[in-house]
């Protein structure tokens, strides 16, 4: 492991009863890299995210972030070390206005410590972040309760809440699902920009062609096991990958 490595998983496993949701997964990620994680439904992608972010404690194995063993730390501590995640099923604060949803991370211990004075008026900062993910400031949308938002907006709200934390590693669980083609198209440049800022990205996605425009490396999971790793082109050439997808997903041409 060299000093450019930001995240290292060592033989990470998690069982739920008899189900081996994640089974001996190892990989390394360098600072600034973008990794795609793909695999059929139930192959352990979300569980893998939960293991990295501390939401689920691994049965065995290690998570090393910035050279520090963070296996099984409480999830809020993982955030404070610089790991932000979004949820596959959006978890907005339904009874709170959209911009106040973003004020929660803007007011968080990490944002206050890390960004300090740069963050002026928190409501204003929140609205800026919402603009970044494509909410129109002058529309009524940022002031509505989050419960009134359509699905695509909720996913973008998830992204805004991640960005508010100014994380070093961003993990997005199926950000694109529930978004329209045009919504995805408008998010892609933002993801580019996030990468240019030197942030490291992990994206779990089913929309492969869009995913492959963002990531430079892909890990494929099947039944909790890593069955392939490499550039998008490399993994899609592996026969086990295509057969794992057959019947469960339609592979869009990358």
């Amino acid at each position: 492991m060299n000093n450019k490595t930001i995240l290292q998983l060592v033989d990470l496993s998690k069982s739920f009863g008899a189900v081996k949701a994640v089974n001996g997964v190892s990989f390394e990620l360098k600072r600034g890299e973008a990794l795609g994680v793909i695999g059929p439904n139930g192959s352990g992608k979300s569980t893998l995210i939960n293991l990295i972010t501390g939401f689920v404690r691994p049965t065995s194995g290690k998570v090393i972030f910035k050279g520090r063993d963070i296996t099984g730390i409480p999830p809020h501590k993982a955030v404070n070390l610089g790991i932000a995640r979004s949820f596959q099923l959006a978890r907005p604060f339904y009874n709170i206005p959209v911009y106040k949803n973003v004020v929660i991370p803007v007011y968080s211990p990490r944002a206050r410590k890390h960004l300090g004075a740069k963050y002026g008026d928190r409501d204003e900062v929140a609205i800026h972040l919402l603009e970044d993910v494509g909410f129109e400031r002058d529309s009524q949308v940022p002031y509505k309760n989050a419960g009134e938002l359509p699905h695509g907006y909720l996913k973008r709200l998830e992204l805004a809440r991640c960005l508010a934390l100014d994380p070093d590693l961003i993990i997005l669980d199926e950000l694109f699902s529930g978004m329209s083609m045009s919504e995805i198209a408008s998010i892609l440049p933002l993801l580019e920009r996030i990468r240019e800022e030197g942030k490291t990205l992990i994206m779990v996605e089913h929309r492969l062609s869009e995913l492959f425009r963002v990531v430079d490396k892909t890990v494929v999971l099947n039944f909790g096991k890593k069955i392939a790793e490499g550039t998008p082109r490399q993994v899609m050439a592996v026969e086990e990958v295509t057969s794992a997808y057959l019947g469960s997903e339609v592979i869009s041409n990358a």
């Binding site: 939401f55 809020h76 949820f87 604060f93 339904y94 949803n101 929660i104």
Partner: protein, 343 residues
């Protein structure tokens, strides 16, 4: 089709113009906004002046009403964090016993016991509940229900803190008027402070925890620690209430953990409406005097509480306060059916 009239509800002008910040255009608008607030405050303030007319009985009813209102405010704040308490008597008993103990053992007067028992009781209550803050929904409720019952059994069996006899002959307040004004002042401060709190970003975190605690964790908050702070803040007025009643009765004993102190605040908030704090107070001012009027029915009063809980959760879930507020901001007029269908 018979041509008739239908009722149309219209929001009053100033309510339409802005939801929170009132835009005042005339003296009438000003009166409209200020009058209801002023009326309530004036009524409360002059109440003790009518002491002689009312007699000590209704003064005591007023006192217990405000004490229950403090417990109801505390309940409402906890509910705002997603913690449903079925054991407000825990806080009441903690404050009450701490004040009683300090007074009984060291001879302290209310001037010292009230602040110490308020803060100390809140700390003790928070420590007691800390291990179960992880629990959500009904599980938290059930344990809070059990803890005060357990504590009073412990006191009974171990005979500590006076055992079944309790501690009596404690110092009292100068007079009833003083008591009324003191509790009223604390009531005002609590409502004001709680309304302020939920308007800040700090208070927003509490609301967010209720909405979706995992998303708050994902923003890097230690929600266990936040919930503990919330419980402490909620325990303050409730512990004060307990400490106050200890000196009012000049006695503290196992009744401090009684079920009434858990049921009445909860029912009050349901009647008045959750999440506004005004509703909690309003509900107490409806429920407690009513339950006094029904005193002769003895234990049958519980039936009345249950019925009210039932009627309000089903019939008026928003509570009296929001209902009245909505009506106050609207007026109704009759419009002919034809005109209405043209819209």
């Amino acid at each position: 089709m018979n041509p008739g009239y239908r009722k149309e509800r219209i929001d009053r002008g100033i309510k339409v113009r802005s939801d929170d910040v009132f835009v005042l255009a005339s003296m009438r608008d000003l009166l409209y906004v200020v009058l209801p607030r002023a009326l309530v405050i004036i009524l409360l303030l002059i109440f003790p002046a009518f002491q002689d007319i009312l007699g000590s009985y209704w003064q005591n009813v007023m006192l217990s009403t405000m004490v229950i209102a403090l417990l109801a405010l505390s309940w409402d704040l906890l509910a705002g964090i997603g913690l449903v308490s079925l054991g407000q008597s825990l806080f009441f008993g903690m404050g009450g016993y701490l004040a009683g103990y300090l007074s009984f053992t060291f001879g302290w007067g209310p001037l010292y016991t009230l602040p110490v028992a308020t803060v100390g009781g809140a700390l003790l209550s928070t420590l007691t509940l800390y291990p179960i803050l992880r629990l959500r929904g009904i599980y938290f409720g059930m344990i809070t229900f059990a803890v005060p019952l357990l504590l009073s059994r412990v006191i009974e069996v171990t005979k500590i803190l006076g055992g079944t006899e309790g501690m009596s002959s404690l110092p009292s307040f100068p007079n009833t008027g003083f008591e009324l004004y003191l509790v009223m002042a604390v009531l005002f401060v609590t409502v004001y402070a709680y309304r302020m709190l939920v308007g800040t970003d700090y208070g927003l975190v509490f609301n967010a925890i209720r909405d979706n605690d995992r998303a708050v964790v994902a923003a890097g908050y230690d929600i266990q620690w936040y919930k503990a702070q919330g419980v402490f803040i909620a325990a303050l007025p409730a512990c004060f209430a307990g400490a106050f009643m200890t000196h009012h009765f000049q006695f503290v004993g196992m009744p401090a953990f009684a079920l009434d102190y858990s049921i009445l605040p909860l029912t009050s908030v349901v009647i008045g409406g959750v999440g506004t704090f005004f509703g909690a107070v309003l509900g107490s001012f409806v429920l407690v005097p009513l339950s006094e009027l029904l005193r002769e029915f003895g234990s049958l009063r519980v039936v009345v509480y249950s019925l009210m809980l039932l009627v309000f959760t089903i019939g008026l879930p928003e509570g009296i306060f929001r209902f009245v507020l909505r009506k106050y901001h609207q007026f109704e007029r009759l419009v002919p059916m034809e005109e209405a269908s043209n819209e």
